[in-house]
Amino acid sequence: MDIRDLVPAVEAVVFAAARPLDANQIAEILETESAAVQEALATLQFSCDEQNRGVFLEHVAGGYQLRTRPQFAEYLRRLGRRRPFRFSRAALETLAIIAYRQPVTRPDIEYLRGVDSGSVLKTLIEKHLVRILGKKDVPGKPMIYGTTPAFLELFGLPDLASLPTLQEFSELMDEGFAAETDDSLRDETEEQTPMPANGS
């Protein structure tokens, strides 16, 4: 299949698939090379942006999916397709901790948050955003938790490595409190720079 035919074929497959598909999966369906599909995906992504289309190609949860542009959100909510998740701050905090620290135990989460997190954890599991990964090989064998592909899909992330970088304070921690009155240190840490927005 030449590239001129491949781009619409890839579009059709991505359009028809219920879940994000990666280049290998698409290549298998179209009986072609993964590299060619990769190229076609790039072309499709570009032309969605270029041709002022209502949808864009998002790299999400290890695959590709067509999604409507965020600027139409207000109208599309009126379609009443599915009730969206409404996160409490507690749920978001817990989800962030699990996303960045996985595999993580419930006591770890609770130490970081300073509050009991059982019911929040339960809700996140029931919403299939968090899953039980198994057990930690330490005394007491606590259950360990991590995020699901649905978490990546919800937030439009290609993979966990694409999570926005955490504001890192650990360097400072290592130096301990001997240096706490050191002004140069304070300057560095006081700039509460918000994390990169990381537009998707």
Partner: protein, 255 residues
Amino acid sequence: MEPYQIHLENFTGPLDLLLHLIRKHEMDIYDIPIADVTSQYLAILDAMQTLNLDIAGEFLLMAATLVHIKSKMLLPKIAEEDTAEEEEDPRAELVRRLLEYQKYKEAAATLDERPKLNLDVFDRYAPEPEAQEKSDGGFAEVSLFDLLAALREVLSQNPEPSFHTVDMDRLSVADRINLILERLQGEQSIAFNDLFSGTIERGDIIVTFLATLELVRMRLIRLMQNARFGTIWLMAAVEVGAGELKIGEEHFGYS
């Protein structure tokens, strides 16, 4: 309504409340005026108590921690050089936790700003495919949660007390049983001692022993010994014809 009730609902926990106080009063997080922050924190709890509002245990625990830090700060500093070096600032642990908490709080806010599926962006409407038992496309995502929920459900309808206490040991034994039966496939017999080759850990030995006993009890294997103190041999209790376990055998080489 009372301002403090609204207040409480706005905070996800004591660390969140403390961070708020530190920011509101423009305190230096690396040099927290612990007396000030403690009195402000306690004032909020007092107000809530006056209104007969339930205060979560974690908030009270933090109050105790703050008072404790405050009292330690009031103790005269020991002058001697050698001890002074080892002594950590009483606030250090709290500061570490606050900074760590703040990191995730901000990460949560950043996450929340992203366009969310079904709220800000929409995928094509694809109706749920009917459950398909015949397919070649691998498995739909299934989680331990689903497995455990199914187990819990089936057991709640059919209570059998002994079954409810599935514990780790039992599952370790199950692992070992699988291993032993796997080794017995295609072998006439295996030496009991060989089951322990390479095993040094006491727990491992016990698990292997229990697995062997369980297999004998279930009449899945037989033990044979030719002479007193001779080698003990394990063999399948039932000779299995070559064709019979064909499906089973394929599973070892799953791809």
